[in-house]
């Protein structure tokens, strides 16, 4: 069995989870234009953009020799819940022999355990639990570092050095065996980042931007023209509404759900019910960002995403009520960097002027 998985933000977490169980792994390449072209060719035209990119990745790893793909499922009544099935069908139709194993939110433990059995190999259940705990710790540790990067990269003279350091840090994380290793890498990573040169402005001079929207286009830089990096290079601190550790806590760990409930509650004024995807969470995060003193919000909506279309239609009202600028961008395979930069640049001009006005 040669196992692969979706690429989102970085491959470390999935890789470690499967590696520690002793799997033979095909690491998926970061999506490129080639990946997207492949996906667009095979996926239905009206499917949302993330489905197409993932489709491209699956076709690429199949070519590299993968016969099994492990992925996580959707949550709530969004089409992402059917991704696994649809991808499987497209691969079957193309005559490719690949098995997709979908881990869904464990509302019902039985399919979850059955899936676990498929990938547990001859590890003891005790070992499996220990690996899961390690992966869980890894997700949180990496996200602490990534959040630090999203802040600090805005204030360095050489943003590229921070990005390079982040690559290096990820490589170190690829080598961990247990939770002690993770702690050691995290400590090393903090020192590595602290060793770079920064020029921190006073807190009231900092521009903070929140990025909200559908999880895949928010997290996967290759689909959004590396918007975090772009904003950091333009001098803005960035925080995303999605980090993988928070996704795990809020979707897969029932006793952690309530820690994230307050974000959803904050959206109640605008969206009473869960309509699927991340729509309600997106709106809740805008309210949360405003309360935490952010200067603006960028909303990323994959073309064809219904839940985010709903949240997009609420943005004007939210923006006006809360007095926070919001820029909504639709992401698809046509999104050229120049187009995006034009809008982001103008948006930052607007924010800077607003800020100057408020200080004066």
């Amino acid at each position: 069995m040669k196992v692969s998985f979706p690429y989102m933000d970085n491959p470390v977490l999935y890789y470690k989870l499967l590696d520690l169980l002793g799997h033979d792994i095909i690491i998926p390449p970061r999506p490129t234009q080639h990946t997207i072209n492949l996906g667009v060719k095979y996926a239905p035209e009206f499917a949302c953009f993330p489905l197409k990119v993932l489709m491209g990745t699956y076709l690429e790893v199949e070519k590299m020799g993968a016969d099994t793909i492990v992925t996580s499922g959707g949550h709530g009544p969004c089409r992402a819940g059917y991704y696994g099935k649809l991808h499987q069908k497209i691969l079957d139709n193309a005559g490719l022999d690949v098995d997709i194993i979908v881990f869904d939110a464990p509302k019902d433990w039985r399919p979850f355990l059955q899936n676990l059995k498929k990938i547990k190999l001859d590890n003891s259940w005790f070992r499996v639990m220990s690996v899961i705990r390690t992966a869980y710790t890894l997700a949180h540790s990496m996200d602490r570092i990534e959040k630090l990067i999203h802040k600090n990269r805005a204030h360095t003279l050489e943003p590229r050095e921070v990005s390079d350091a982040w690559e290096e840090i990820q490589q170190k994380y690829m080598g961990i065996e247990n939770r002690q290793d993770i702690a050691a890498v995290e400590k090393w990573a903090r020192e590595r980042l602290a060793g770079l040169e920064y020029n921190f402005p006073t807190p009231d001079q900092r521009i903070k931007i929140g990025i909200i929207g559908e999880i895949y286009v928010v997290m996967e830089g290759s689909t959004n023209n590396d918007i975090e990096e772009m904003l950091n290079e333009l001098g803005c601190e960035v925080e995303r509404s999605h980090y993988i550790s928070e996704y795990i806590d809020s979707h897969l760990v029932p006793w952690k759900w309530k820690e994230y409930q307050h974000i959803l509650d904050k959206a109640d004024n605008y969206l009473e019910i869960m309509i699927g995807g991340h729509a309600k969470r997106s709106i809740g995060h805008i309210v949360d960002y405003k309360e935490r003193g952010f200067d603006g919000v960028i909303h990323l909506k994959p073309f064809g995403c219904l839940p985010e279309l709903v949240s997009q239609s609420l943005l004007d009202r939210v923006s006006e009520d809360l007095d926070i600028p919001i820029l909504s961008l639709s992401i698809d395979e046509q999104m050229a960097k120049a187009n995006m930069l034009t809008r982001v640049e103008a948006f930052l001009d607007l924010i800077k002027q607003k800020k100057e006005e408020e200080i004066a």
Binding site: Q33, R160, D316, L350
Partner: protein, 331 residues
């Protein structure tokens, strides 16, 4: 010698160049259709600017805006390269200080800019579709055999309303043909098209936003009286068409260049008019040094690489150099 600030707006349909003097008066204006070779048009434009003004002015600052701003920015050695939304707003606020709403309809872009107290507070720009932009009209004018310049005035001659489905340029055409077959006159059809464009613009960009006067309408399409009338009908208010409505982006970036130079207190980085004699060539290659596979754009002047862009890591952009790359495609 007086100072001159050059503003260049590289749009998808037109290329505009203006020269403003110290007191922001326009000394030079060029509006030219972009035939797809912006570098040539800019070279010619600057040559004629130089010819006209070289005895009286020296170049104190250069700004470039528009969708092609990066490339031309490199070639000219621009002091400021900025997005067209900010540029447009800057020019309008200068001319109409109490403006609250700007409708800008250009060749392939349309924008809505909302302003309060001379500050941009919101903007929207068309994304996936060119419906609601000038190219929609261009296309239909061609089909009807009417010069685009006469289009607007013809629309005003319409005596009856006819509704044309304008969501998509292709469907608009089929709808237009069937309306022609019903026997509606050319002015009526044209008026219907103008209204369809404005309806699209409002559906895509305004999307129910509350708009306040004063309203300004600019961009290449503002020359079209039929569109102006259709907008006024839609908002039930008067719209102002500023002087030089067709080159507002260029004026704005020239003003921003002036501001930039005052703050910077350094000489302009403009490469001089000698560039009008240089030969520029653009090519691109896929860098295969890592998994990102960036498409690196390379600009050469007289066979020598002067700029590279498009790489994520910056190793080409920071050190543009002549290289032999296989698999090269000329652009």
């Amino acid at each position: 010698m007086n100072d001159l600030y050059i503003g260049v707006d590289i749009g998808s349909v037109s290329i505009n160049i203006v020269g403003l003097d110290d007191s922001k008066d326009m000394q030079f204006k060029l509006y030219k259709r972009n035939p797809g070779s912006p570098v040539e048009v800019v070279k010619e434009g600057l040559a004629s600017l130089n010819k006209k003004l070289k005895d009286r002015f020296k170049i104190a600052g250069v700004g470039v805006t528009g969708s092609g701003r990066q490339l031309i920015g490199y070639i000219l050695g621009a002091d400021i390269v900025k997005n067209e939304i900010t540029a447009h707003a800057t020019a309008t606020i200068e001319q109409v200080p109490d403006v609250r709403t700007i409708f800008e309809i250009g060749g392939q872009d349309s924008k809505l800019i909302v302003i309060n107290n001379e500050i941009v507070t919101d903007f929207a720009m068309n994304t996936v579709c060119a419906a609601g932009t000038g190219s929609f009209l261009d296309h239909q004018a061609e089909r009807l055999g009417v010069e685009i310049e006469e289009f607007g005035d013809l629309a005003l001659q319409a005596t009856k309303d006819v509704r044309i489905a304008g969501r998509c340029t292709v469907f608009a055409e089929s709808d237009m043909i069937s309306k022609q077959q019903y026997g509606f006159t050319k002015p009526e059809i044209i008026n219907g098209l103008c209204e369809a464009l404005v309806r699209n613009y409002f559906n895509n960009l305004v999307r129910g936003k509350e708009l306040h006067p004063r309203f300004v309408f600019q961009g290449g399409v503002a020359a079209n009286a039929g569109i102006k009338a259709a907008i006024e009908k839609e908002i039930n208010d008067e719209v102002i068409i500023p002087d030089n409505h067709d080159v507002m982006g260029a004026i704005g970036i020239a003003l921003l260049a002036q501001e930039e130079m005052r703050e910077k207190d350094e000489p302009s980085s403009f490469k001089g008019f000698s560039i009008t004699h240089d030969n520029f060539e653009t090519s691109s290659f896929i860098c295969e040094d890592c998994a990102n596979e960036c498409e690196v754009i390379r600009i050469q002047a007289n066979g020598k690489t002067i700029a590279m862009t498009g790489d994520r890591c910056g190793k080409w952009a920071s050190d543009p150099r002549d290289i032999d790359v296989k698999d090269e495609t000329s652009a």
